[in-house]
Amino acid sequence: MSFQTKNITWFLKNLMSAAVFVITLSVFAFAGNTPDSNAEALDMVWILIAAFLVFFMQAGFAMLETGFTRSKNAVNIMMKNLVDFSFGSLAFWAVGFALMFGAGNAFIGSEGFFLNGVTEPTQYAYWLFQAVFAATAATIVSGAVAGRIKFSSYLIYSVVITALIYPVSGHWIWGGGWLSSLETPMIDFAGSTVVHSLGGWAALAGAMIVGPRIGRYTKVKGPIRGHSLTLASLGVFILWFGWYGFNAGSTTSGTDLTIAIISVTTTLAASAGVVSAMITSWLREGKPDIGMSLNGALAGLVSITAGTANVSPLSAVLIGVIGGIIVNYSVALFDKLKIDDPVGAISVHGVCGAWGTLAVGLFAQESFGGVNGLFFGGGINQLLVQLLGVVAVFIWSFGLSTVMFLTLKRTMGIRVTEEEEILGLDLVEHGAEAYPDFTVTM
């Protein structure tokens, strides 16, 4: 039924007969609105809106990353975020979805390339929801390698992660693979490990292989500061907003009333992450640091993602508090190791993702998600399974990403030249300046 057909019979002609109007509008409905058809429709509406929110996180990542990096690379950051989503969603359509959710074995799926054979609307909705997740995993890497990676190499990498790296380990946990078939299946409700750690470890491989930015660790001078903390903050607010889709959408059902508790634990953990990260920085440095506070929000969000449907509000607060502390020390650690991560992606997504996944094994509570963790009398089994998942995904993601980045390094090269880096990626890669208003003042 197309739009205009409906409209013809619509509105004012029927102004006098609202009843007729309703009938017209609901042609399908009268063919049979049933409780089940309504539930199915509500589930779909929920999945789609959640997917839209997760899509919007791309804007959040773009603002966060550009804010935390220099203006001479601002255009490049925008391009990377635009393009990893675009190539990523095409790659996930062509290949990734089939590998992740297609029938296959415990390790990999192998049916449904190009959405072949898919006809059910719900499956389309589900594809979209999964595609925006895949693109999120890809985007995480962008920030960690900002300011020096070659655009063409990044582009290839972002196809590989959405077409291959993300879907395979995703299959293990969400697609019916081995980690979900254990006696005690791994719990990663919305993807602390499937999405965030995976992206974080890939970012770690990327940052290590591409090396630190010029001047980052070689001189006495301070850190390389970003060019707009305002935009970085906007990015965090957008990400937090989108995260509601990420977590609560992961029920893939609007009739599943746990979406309420998920939204609450998400909010509390994020708030707790801000508070604890800020206080930690205050104690350590004597001032409440904005970079850490922003990272604290994300740390809280990443940390609660795995257990958002399985823990109590109080546990969510604790998980967020610990996430906010971890991110402080983790950022400092990677700095000491001279692994240059301009936006803190490795700490926020990798480390806190791991923490969040383990936290399920500690804080899960039967009355919320049906499973008890160590602190609630469930024994150590769940925790061990969570640990197994964390390690397995680390090995897979870090391993494959290392191979990939090294291959790129040895073939087409992975890093711009020193001169290009000094000039800035905007100019050399895109022939552009982000803020070129000087000579045009007229």
Partner: protein
């Protein structure tokens, strides 16, 4: 004709401008600069790391005055821009050979009035 270049603290700009105008100076040119000097820069934080900023924001006022106004202008600036704290800035004096008003092509002291 002399040029005075005064490097001052940014928040003193309005006062200095007013002081100069009050003694009959009718034009000046101002720019934002960064200064390095005895005033040690702030220590800042960035994502959990403390570091030191060497360059501090300053404002540079360039004003070209006739020889007879130099002393007064200097005195006014000293009066107004002084907070008594390190970093108040400097005044540099140099010679200007000629000034020309673009609109009228007047030159010399006439260009300044």
């Amino acid at each position: 004709m002399k040029k005075l270049e005064a490097i001052i603290k940014p928040f003193k700009l309005d006062d200095v401008k007013q002081a100069l105008v009050d003694i009959g100076i009718r034009g000046m040119t101002v720019s934002e600069v960064k200064g390095y000097g005895r005033q040690k820069g702030q220590s800042e934080l960035y994502r959990g790391r403390e570091y030191h900023i060497d360059f501090l924001p300053k404002v540079k006022i360039e004003v070209v005055v006739t020889d007879d106004k130099v002393e007064e202008a200097v005195r006014q600036i000293l009066l107004v821009a002084n907070t008594g704290q390190i970093g108040d800035g400097k005044i540099f004096l140099s010679d200007i050979e000629d000034a020309i008003r673009i609109r009228t092509e007047e030159s010399g002291n006439d260009a300044l009035n």
